[in-house]
Amino acid sequence: MTDHLVQLSYLAAAALFILSLLWMSHPSTARRGVRAAEIGMLLAIVGTLVRHEIVNYEIIALAFLAGSAIGVPLAYLMPMTAIPQRTALSHAFGALATGLIGTAEYFRLTGMDVAPSPLVMSALMFEMFLGFLTCTASIMAFGKLQEIMPTRPMIFPLQRALNVSIFIATIAAAIALVVLPAGPVLFGVFVGLALVFGVLLVVPIGGADMPTVIALLNAYAGLAASAMGFVLNNKLLIITGALDGSSGFILAVIMCRAMNRSFANVLFGGFGQLQTSAAGAAEDRTVRSLAPDETAMTLENAQSVVIIPGYGMAVAQAQHKIHDLYQQLTQRQALVRFAIHPVAGRMPGHMNVLLAEANIPYDALVEMEDINPEMPMTDIALIVGANDVVNPAARDDPKSAIAGMPIIEADKARSVMVVKRSMGKGFSGIENELYFQDKTHMLFGDAKDYVGSVVKELASTAA
């Protein structure tokens, strides 16, 4: 009887998770989606706790308390700019849990009188390989996003050969364990190899490729959870893992498309390494720059402004000043919109969250494909901390390292303003022709300070 109730609670939970993703499709229903997922989770946990095989309630209660004691402050204290790091960290926690459950299950299965079937062992090995590699890979991604580690790709000789041989060794160990499950030493080697492989996977990946990597790790974590469902014969785990996995894959594909690159290229490309030598000759070209008061005057007369944010806005924490600018300009009846490139920032949707945090209404945020046809009718394209995503070389120069990457066509606007710390190059290390156009003005300075002074200037003329 209780078994039926448990299954019913899982069934309801699965339905609620599906509904919650359905409601996530639009901001007006998204919070309802979170509620649905919470109720589903509660049902599933209560359902599991009432199963008659469960007896050690003290351990479970203690672990719940410990987890909440860490999770709650983490959720409330985390600034919105640190969302990518938090996401990487939570992939690491989730994958660690999956890997550890797999380990316990391995020792339970091999301790029984009947040998586990090869199919069950394959699912278990799959679960543990993805679980442990995602765990260390996510910790590495966290380190790079938090800038504990250098964000530039780290490349060393024979890197690819080393990665491939570790991958093959891990798979070989896994196959051996499927054939002959009892082998605690080999099992330890397998886990170690999977952990090392995760580290090596992220070492050569640079900061601007993080959106793809995070999405891919999300997919791995989901697939690992799904594989765990096969091992534990738990349908809810299979469904949830599959939903999570497909979400990660779709996001990763969107990110790759937005950079015109393949998965393989992101994972093994070591982007942003090669081009530094080529640009040296062009260093002395002149650019036009503007002081904040001049910028304010130009902006004051604009009818339509498109603001293009990038990772630099997040670094400078400039989103609140940008909001003030948005207000000043809208008060003057200008049409102000934000053009969001899919890979702007360090994770999918990063810019949207920051701008929403700064109280900018989401209907002012426009996707790349929708804003590009309107760029020629735009008076000013104001670029804040973005570089490669507005580089016309991606469209015009087939030899460029970012050739074919879809861009926001800032160069088509009637005039262009670029807030930038210095003439340093973007992540790809490529010179940006946009800065040398006649209609472009460089606004040198810290994005937050510069936009702040412009806003002050505008506010004083308004009064």
């Binding site: 989730g94 849990a97 299979i238």
Partner: protein
């Protein structure tokens, strides 16, 4: 212990459903989507409870289970709270304070 093939059908259906659902999500919400799926995948806690709580669980399994429940709970609690925190900020032009 044998593997039940119907599980593969369930996986296949759920994966296709997932693709269809996620494709509809506005790019505006990709960050909260990721943290929500993250929170949902903390359902692994169900497996962890089984490992740690079973009658004949070895001390080793109990330790692993304990860590796994803790890690999943961090994701579970944190994931839902932060998703909601993010979504609360998304407002339209008219309903701003």
């Amino acid at each position: 212990m044998q593997l039940d093939e119907t599980l593969l059908f369930i996986f296949m259906l759920a994966a296709f459903l997932g693709f269809q659902l996620i494709k509809r999500v506005s790019p505006l919400l990709h960050s909260p989507l990721m943290s929500l799926t993250n929170a949902i995948s903390a359902i692994a806690v169900v497996g962890a409870i089984t490992i740690a709580g079973e009658k004949d669980a070895s001390p080793f399994a109990q330790v692993l289970g304990f860590v796994a429940i803790t890690a999943s709970t961090i994701n579970l609690v944190g994931g839902y709270l932060i998703t909601d925190r993010m979504l609360k900020m998304f407002r339209k032009r008219e309903d701003r304070p």
